[in-house]
Symmetry: C2
Subunit: 506 residues, 2 copies
């Protein structure tokens, strides 16, 4: 399997690898696949589930959050109250001649190249820009229609003969807001109260693209923090007050600055870049999750604050956590929005239920701050940023604990004595490790196969094993090998997967 160094982008190579080895592929590929729907294969799903279980450890268990699971289908009234029926729209334009449809802002931007100024423009304003600049259909030069809105939610009719109009949720937030009082009453009963959700969301994107970057069905992990806006202190803040993060705040963006600043969250709080301690704490915690837990390079992670005209209809303050990769540039992976009491007050109004709580001697409507993670994007950026190749081989230099298998077990050659020994080792390790057993082809090819899916360690059983009960242990990244005695393997492997180098283990 010689590696050809081609001029493809990394993402094309990752996509080819993903399909060939079973990380991901398009849904319903044997038919004509519909854009924006993807399936996880066995290797990809292990990685995805590891990201999710790390997230649960960091944001549910460690944060004493209450995790709930809510239905994907919710009645229309929920989405009228939340503002999604009115505001969760793209603006599109149609060619009167060839009937092709385009996102109005993308079309104008492609032709006039002035993206920044289009944010927040109304349909009338966009139509005027099209007319004034005499923009025609890029496919057939035909005349374009007025700009119209297109709602990105999928409607669903529930009941015999389509009786109740519902929507597939475009985010999980609303269900946490609706269930806020249920959780408040049945659980802790005081603020801040944290509700976590991991689940699917669905958006009828007009132009799904870049694999997981714009999907029509995707996995979100959200933490909703309901807090008292009059309480400016947060008890956990001290733990992370000196933590340094990369920020690009509105204040700098408005001065034309494009580079982030490395700064501790307490300093950012002093400067007024971050409004309060609870938000400062989560700005630090989410950053730490990317660098310390997932293993992204620190200079590849930044927060970009959104300008007022870029923010969603509900957001008072909004920071995008972005991850850098060579192919995609900076990509939003976590939406961090201070939604004020917008959602609770809207549902209070529409449902005529009381969502206020009694704190510090009076009734208040809690505010909501929400870091909302796009799990599939994080997955893809982990793969893309761990992709390595040289003349000899391709490998995924992925954080050892997120690899789809922990260890490869290989008999050096196809001899019965070696295979028997290899099976023994397989059984010794099976309960505690996720093993890739392989006995076909040359050992070199097997190392290549293990490397390209990111298996951090390979154990090879050779003729010396039969003499002294030792095996070789090989590091994916350095290709270094040491000899280890079989009884020591469980312990040595555990240390290696936790980050120890081979030198310290030999």
């Amino acid at each position: 399997m010689p590696i050809k160094l081609q001029k493809e982008s990394i993402i094309e190579k990752v996509q080819e690898l993903a399909k060939r080895r079973g990380f991901f592929w398009q849904s319903a590929e044997v038919y004509s696949p519909v854009g924006g729907f993807w399936n996880y294969g066995p290797l990809g799903l292990v990685l995805k589930n590891k990201i999710i279980s790390s997230w649960r450890k960091w944001f549910v268990k460690d944060e004493n959050a209450y995790e709930i699971e809510t239905s994907n289908i919710l009645p229309e009234i929920v989405w009228i109250a939340s503002g999604h029926v009115e505001n969760f729209v793209d603006k599109i334009v149609e060619c009167k001649k060839c009937k092709s449809k385009f996102r109005a802002d993308h079309l104008i931007e492609d032709i006039l190249g002035e993206k920044e100024k289009l944010e927040g423009k109304t349909t009338e304003e966009l139509t005027r820009i099209i007319r004034e600049n005499k923009i025609k259909c890029p496919k057939c030069e035909g005349e374009l229609s007025e700009v119209r809105t297109f709602n990105l939610m999928f409607p669903i009719y529930v009941g015999a003969y389509e009786e109740i109009k519902c929507y597939l949720r475009p985010e999980t937030t609303q269900a946490s807001v609706l269930d806020f009082m249920q959780v408040y009453r049945t659980q802790r009963g005081k603020l801040p109260l944290k509700i976590a959700q991991i689940g699917k969301a669905f958006r009828n994107e007009i132009s799904p693209r870049q694999i997981f970057m714009r999907m029509r069905e995707f996995t979100m992990a959200e933490l909703q923090i309901f807090f008292n806006p009059e309480e400016t202190k947060y008890e956990d803040f001290e733990k992370l007050s000196n933590y340094e993060v990369n920020l690009l705040p509105v204040e700098l963006r408005q001065k034309g600055e494009e580079n982030f600043v490395g700064i501790s969250v307490s300093k950012a709080l002093e400067k007024g870049w971050i409004p309060n301690e609870i938000i400062a704490y989560y700005i630090a915690k989410v950053f730490a999750f990317f660098t310390e837990e997932l293993g992204f390079r620190k200079d590849y992670i930044r927060y970009k604050e959104l300008l007022p005209e870029e923010r969603a209809h509900y957001a008072k303050v909004h920071w995008d956590l972005e991850v850098y990769s060579k192919d995609f540039g900076w990509q939003e992976c976590v939406n961090n929005a201070w939604r004020s009491d917008y959602d609770l007050s809207r549902h209070q109004k529409f449902s005529k239920q009381n969502f206020s709580v009694f704190e510090n001697g009076k009734r208040i409507l809690p505010h909501l701050y929400e870091p909302s993670f796009g799990i599939d994007r994080i997955f893809l950026l982990l793969l893309v940023n761990s992709f390595r190749e040289d003349k000899e081989r391709t490998w995924l230099q992925i954080n050892r604990k997120f690899a789809p298998y922990d260890v490869g077990v290989f008999p050096l050659v196809s001899k019965d004595e070696l295979k028997t020994k290899a099976r023994e080792i397989y059984i010794l390790l099976k309960n505690d490790f996720n093993i890739f057993y392989d006995e076909s082809d040359s050992i070199g090819r097997r190392y290549r196969r293990a490397d390209e899916v990111g298996i951090p360690a390979c154990i090879t059983i050779d003729f010396q094993t039969l003499k002294d009960n030792s095996v070789t242990l090989r590091d994916r990244d350095t290709m270094q090998q040491i000899r280890t005695r079989i009884p020591d393997l469980p312990d040595v492997l555990k240390k290696f997967l936790n980050g120890a180098s081979l030198e310290t283990l030999s």
Copy 2:
């Protein structure tokens, strides 16, 4: 909190408890909830996720299955090929006067009481029965329409201006079938090949009812076993050949028998009740999962084989695993269907792709056997069957390892020294156990609160603790207590949660 012994059914009590303590409640309850949609609260979700992780251990890891995750939305062609567009229907009838709608079979059954004979009847036959028996609208005595079919799938239109017709999946099976070749090629490459999926399914049920028994959105866990139908032996069969299960086969049902027979799967195979070793193995394995892992009483679990007219359109052999409870009687929890090569051959035909594999010297189309688990039903039946009450208290006698918390930690009374000690114990146990910390109200009330959500063990810090560093450890089921030294707690608790009695631990 004195317990009133009322004449309510167990399920009503469980539902009240579930809502009050945070196991489950209806979706969008602050508005008018739409029937058939439910949310899991924090306690319920822990239990549900424990069922799922046990399932993964038993049916993915131990079975060397390949788990995949596929999209909920699939194009219409998939459901035409699978037969769902044509066959996944209920037959309904409408009142011409008051416009009420009814499931035709339910309506006829309610009036004539002859359910068995209605299975498999066409719309014309049902219309004739209604006409011949002069059945009128039970609400207004109005005349009824012809019987019509109503498809239970939710259509979804994807793309701007509703371009591509899709459906929300009513089962996860089809995606595993579509991806069979992807998994076969990228992974093991030989039969039997096992694909696992855990995910949501959606059905537009006309009359959702009995909480989780008929939902419109629910969680399935499915194992698809693709095997060579000419291969009658299965290597793992020996492990479970003597395993005894409760069977009610078609042969006995046709003789009017209503009670199951306890029989080993090898005997059932000899009698011809089970067609082959691979199915016999999974009949035993699924039964063992319910009794040994989930902890259901053995006499509350049975397999009922479906009569030809009861079977789905794709099934060659079909066993329902049913769980008994006083409120619901026997309820199907796992659908075990030998789907022959129906699905693969249909998709082969419609997609014009080749799904055959080369085995034993020739090309064959694999057969599919599939145990398909309804996770929400299993969850509810675990709760209902573990519900206990006497004059003093209510408790959930749930398998210790499935409880929503492992242990309660309580200072006996609200004194600072006791609270400080209790926090120390909390910190000692926090990483390895899921703790319910409670310091309000009398200790008696706190035990009641812990009992009613099924917390298996409670630790109480009292004045003796301050003298000799020992605490009391209380068993939920027996209310017995022993004293344990604090440093021994992690070890003692671990053994207790694995099933040890207090006597063996004191």
